[in-house]
Amino acid sequence: MKIVCWNLKNIGQTKLGNAFTNTFTPYGLGNNVLDYMMKLVMGDAAWSNLWGLAGLSNNPADIFVIIELKTGGHNKNQAVSGTCLPTITAITNAMNQVAVTRNINNNYQYSFATPKITGNHETVGVIFNNLVFNANPATISLRDNNNAYINPRTPFMASLVEGTTTTKIVGIHAPPVKGGANVRYRPPIDYVRKLGIVGELDPTAAVSPTDYFIMGDFNCNPGSSYTNGFGVAVTGFNQLLAWNYNSLIPNGTLSSVRTRVANVNPQPSNYLSEAYDNLLYNFSVAPGGISEYVLDLIGNARNVSQPLNPVALYPNNLVAVLNNYNKVSDHLPMIIEY
């Protein structure tokens, strides 16, 4: 099973067609934003260097989670509108096109879970392999145990069912950091703490075999803290850790992408700036092997126009790679395979 989660920075239908520069496009990583996404999500040979990481295969994703999927409206848990359904339909259809072309559609056919508004003009997209999971999964924008949504963007959950096992896919987008050094992580940390009072995320309350995945843009990491009014350091992940959520992404793994190269910094901080993205899991029965990464699509970008002789684009072409990556997103994708 492979899950890819990607914050795609306000993705809408127009953005899918945005083309890359004429000198980047020949590298073979994609003609436009949609094409670029598909090559990563569907395990294309353009990223064969990533599929060589321990535990990763070149299989297409079984589940693709999109953070910052754009929609009209702002009423949480209500139906999406505007560009949202055409966008997720286009992405889903593109994944099916690739599966048909590669003649793997006997193993991979995709549908999307009905998105619900999570915050102002935003939702989470969940596309899944419907040959593995049942059709029409239940979806909901979650409330906490006080029956309140978590602001500004409440978590979104799709419950995918395979046989007797439910896989809860939860996409989140925490608020950004704000304020002075001692308190800048307060907004996202308080957000993550509230995840600990969302009943649907409590694995101890499961009444049937359930695997949980909480993923997305946390805008902080387990090592982040802020100092409260009593001088105490406050962290965010305590309850999730108490519930035995885990992540194999090392704490502090940079994942947010700079808009300009910081030449004075060593790799990868010359093109990455913060450790904001994470993918937490809790299995009802631990699988045999789990591999999980933040995929560095900038440092690992190659010119694959000659497939037998791919050439690394870092460091000589870093400016072009970074500028073109910014047309896709300001976050790197994450992957888990088990």
């Binding site: 004429n22 094409d35 598909m38 096109q97 400016v319």
Partner: protein
Amino acid sequence: MANWKFTDQYGSTYPSLQYSILSLLVFSEHSLNGNNFTGTLDVDATGTALSTIGTMLGMGSIPLSGTVDATGASLTVTLRSTNDQDFTQAIANCIPLIGGSITKNAWLDINTVSSQTDPEGDSPPTDVFSLGVTIAIGSASVDINTQVPMNGGFFYLSGEFTGVGISLNDLNFLMGPLAEGNAWFPSTELGPYSAGQTSFGLLSMSLLCYVTLAPSFSISINSVNVEVGISKLPLMGNALYLDPLGVWVTVTNPTSDAAVTWGLLGSVKLCNYANPGPVGLSDPDFTFDFTMTFPSSTDNTFGIAAYLENPAGKSVNVMLQDLMGQGTNVGIGDNITVNSFEFDTSADVSTGTINEFSTSIVMSGGFGLFEKIPLSVEQLSISVAYSAS
């Protein structure tokens, strides 16, 4: 004549040229007479940048002509292919749905502007390398284009149009099995809004194509998206316009297992008082976007969502002057600004009752109670929400 690239002659003077399409394109022969340029692209010698389009077209060379202006601090290169007949035939042969007599013309465009002050390390701001296609839509013709694809995979052929009047039948050639009875268009759902309407404005079109290079070359149409409706409809003099009011329709897999999704959208635009009329619509002061969803067989809900955003932070006074004329002053402070306004509502058409309603307004500028207190109030927002469940 030896192979030649623009960077051979101009690259040292215009450094950003090395990051443009002109650093990749190889000409087997060329001539420059004053500003007038003619040349022939060599597909094989160019390599990757032309290999996909060369395979699509079945061409080993592409003749171009145009102008090269190297005066001053910028190099401006504007070129167009000159073998339109061959291009047209080739495109008609390789792209489904728009083949045969539908494709009227096809060509290659190059437009690069390289300035000596361009930022280092990436392409010039203007660096166009596109394939253009004119297709017939009923009695009209429209141009759609794409940045030249250089990989196997997805590319979009798309365009936006004004003044293109069509009937629904005119688009049936794109809709595969849904063409029968114009099944791709939600006439039933729109009911009185489209009843008796025989002519529509074609506002935009997009074909999502998929190129397979190996083991054999092919192009398939993954989806077709069209937007039909009206544009530049005046609502109040030459200040306020509905631009557009449209129905978008997406048909996936039009050549096989066609499926359709659709929706209604529109924008109300308020022009700046100094730039009114249709010309001002390209840069309105305020845009109020709305979308509507209609009941379906699985959902009895009619919904409308709308939001106004004011990214430039223009004040309420500017809004009033745009509406009622320059110099209008009703005594509101110049710093009062509506940052955003939005509402959502949905109704169950089977019961005729409102299910959900919410609205919010965000204002800034310091006013009323908050103007004189020492707290720094950046914004004031008011939200109201109602739910029947």
